[in-house]
Amino acid sequence: MEKILPQFILQAVEQVQMGSILIGIYIFFLAAFLGYHLITRVPPLLHTPLMSLTNAISAISIVGAMTIAGMKHDTFTTILGTIAVLAASINAVGGYIITERTLRMFKGRGGGKK
């Protein structure tokens, strides 16, 4: 354990100094903070479309899936990547359509907005 631990910490510090992880953590918390303030302002009326929209947004995993499917590293990862592209596309495409379909239902008094 004594041998492992300092090495582990050293490695961690090294990576943090490289910056990308630390910046990633900054970005994560800033986005989460911003998200918190926006989402608490969404009226319960729109909670279902909010959920289908954020679900569509989290289909951004497609970016990672495409990279892996397209880099042709080896057969196994290419297959996994392609399945991942397929799964993420269902949400990326379907998520916005169902949100639009749901939102189209919400009309104000007297027809409201179109």
């Binding site: 490695q11 090294e14 989460a32 989402i39 009326l45 909010l50 497609i62 495409m66 169902i98 104000g108």
Partner: protein, 466 residues
């Protein structure tokens, strides 16, 4: 294309996502928000296609086309009453995608990964896999392929917690020994198993909380993917989704006055059979039964009618009849409002979507507090397919399992009409004293049929259903 240019694409996409969610804060801008978010996704996908690491486009195109067509077909043709299932299923796909990306990344260069990266991969794969099987379970329960009541067995919580501890221990082990690939795949398998096991003991009416939590997990998994691939757009979009799901889960469990732990581990709603007899005694001889004709008369002569819908409305697909009834009453000068409890239905906002579909203007869909503010002035309150969310025991009996849960005070209206098929208890398994209150009238019928008969009576059409 240089990484800077691609990062610019991602930056635009991130802005679009944030603006898209901002649009959702008002029904007037919500559709625009959705379009902006969709533009963001398109920009992110185009940016990724320009990456020089990508050398083959055929498989991406095939995956995208097949997934896109499936997604489009599901989203266009699924009835809105089945939206909770659709949402659960989409969380499953999101979790699966994140999980597979993590596995592929590990396979590519697991052994030479730094400890922080392997920690992120572990996190991504854990959350992705739990989300995948957990959401499939939720889908099964919502679509009633699987039994909707909690499934319990001895030492369930203990064994689940043990399993979870083992999985986390493996995750920590991997941080020190990233090369132990068989251990990594064991962890993936355990995560799939955990997803199944944690949803088993959760009953149908607790699904709003579970769906929100799975939504949050799917987001966190996507965010972890961002750490693995060092891609900020994934981190941002995942954080937005993770945060949103988490906030909604908190709102939902607060609306039931229960803790997360109670929802997840309480196996709430596992009704024991001995209480049935007690419930019969509870109601014996005290229930007043009414007819559609009488309700029609009451409604026509009311000034303010408040409708409290519940999951039963969705089950019997009664939203269109209800919408028409509201329209007819309004044309006769009766004011009609809808009182929407946050956990009415199977997902957040479920009732709002259904009633909006039936043409009810959204100004008439009231939240809990404004509803309770006008209920004492209502001449008639109609409860359609709801039970626990209108149970006064929550206010009055501190020992009740629903004690302290905020409810719609429909009993404060002058007359309460409860449309319900039987006196069967709601999800919480407790009798409802509302049904025997002095100002309560029970109409035993299927919601759709009952509303149709009331509507026919008001329209002066002789009901053929008799």
């Amino acid at each position: 294309m240089s990484p800077q240019v691609i990062n610019f694409f991602y930056f635009i996409a991130a802005l679009c996502f944030i603006l898209g969610i901002k649009g959702m804060t008002d029904p007037k801008t919500a559709r625009l928000g959705n379009i902006i978010a969709a533009v963001g996704m398109t920009v992110a996908v185009i940016g990724t296609l320009l990456k020089k690491e990508i050398v083959g486009y055929e498989l991406i195109a095939i995956g995208f086309l097949v997934g896109g067509v499936i997604g489009t077909l599901i989203s266009l043709f699924i009835p809105l009453t089945r939206l909770p299932e659709r949402i659960a299923l989409s969380h499953a796909f999101g979790g699966l995608a994140a999980s597979l990306v993590g596995i592929a990344e590990y396979y590519r260069h697991g052994a030479e990964m730094g400890s922080i990266k392997i920690a992120a991969i572990g996190f991504e794969v854990l959350f992705g896999s739990i989300t995948f099987t957990g959401s499939l379970m939720a889908f099964g329960k919502l679509s009633e392929i699987l039994p909707s009541p909690p499934i319990t067995y001895k030492f369930q919580n203990q064994s689940n917690i043990l399993l979870f501890v083992i999985t986390v221990a493996i995750w920590i082990y991997l941080i020190f020994y990233p090369g132990a690939s068989h251990i990594f795949y064991t962890m993936v398998g355990l995560a799939f198993l955990i997803g199944i096991l944690i949803v088993l003991p959760i009953g149908g009416a607790d699904m709003p909380v579970v769906i929100c939590l799975l939504n949050s997990y799917a987001g966190l998994a996507a965010s972890a993917t961002g750490f693995v691939l060092e891609n900020n757009i994934l981190i941002i979009a995942g954080a937005l989704d993770g945060g949103s799901g988490f906030i909604l889960a908190i709102l939902m469990s607060r609306a039931m006055n229960r803790s997360f732990a109670n929802v997840l581990f309480g196996a709430f709603g596992a009704v024991s059979s001995e209480s049935k007899q007690k419930q019969e005694e509870f109601y014996a001889g005290k229930v007043k039964v009414t007819t559609p004709e009488e309700v029609a008369y009451l409604l026509e002569n009311a000034r303010l009618v408040v409708v409290a819908p519940g999951y039963g409305l969705a089950v019997s697909q009664a939203q269109f009849v209800l919408g028409e009834l509201a329209k007819v009453l309004k044309s006769k000068g009766v004011d009609v409002k809808f009182a929407i409890h946050p956990v009415a239905g199977r997902m957040p906002g479920h009732m709002n979507v259904l009633l909006a579909e039936a043409g009810v203007p959204y100004e008439d869909l009231l939240e809990l507090e404004p509803s309770n503010a006008i209920l004492p002035e209502a001449d008639v309150a109609i409860v359609v397919g709801a039970n626990d969310v209108v149970n006064p025991l929550a206010r009055e009996d501190k020992s009740s399992p629903i004690a302290g849960m905020p409810i719609l005070d429909v009993d404060r209206a002058r007359t309460v009409v409860i449309i319900k098929r039987s006196l069967a208890p709601g999800f919480a398994g407790v009798p409802n004293p509302l049904f025997i209150k002095e100002n309560s009238l029970m109409l035993f019928a299927d919601a759709k049929q009952a509303l149709q008969e009331i509507l026919n009576n008001i329209k002066g059409v002789v009901s053929r259903l008799h």
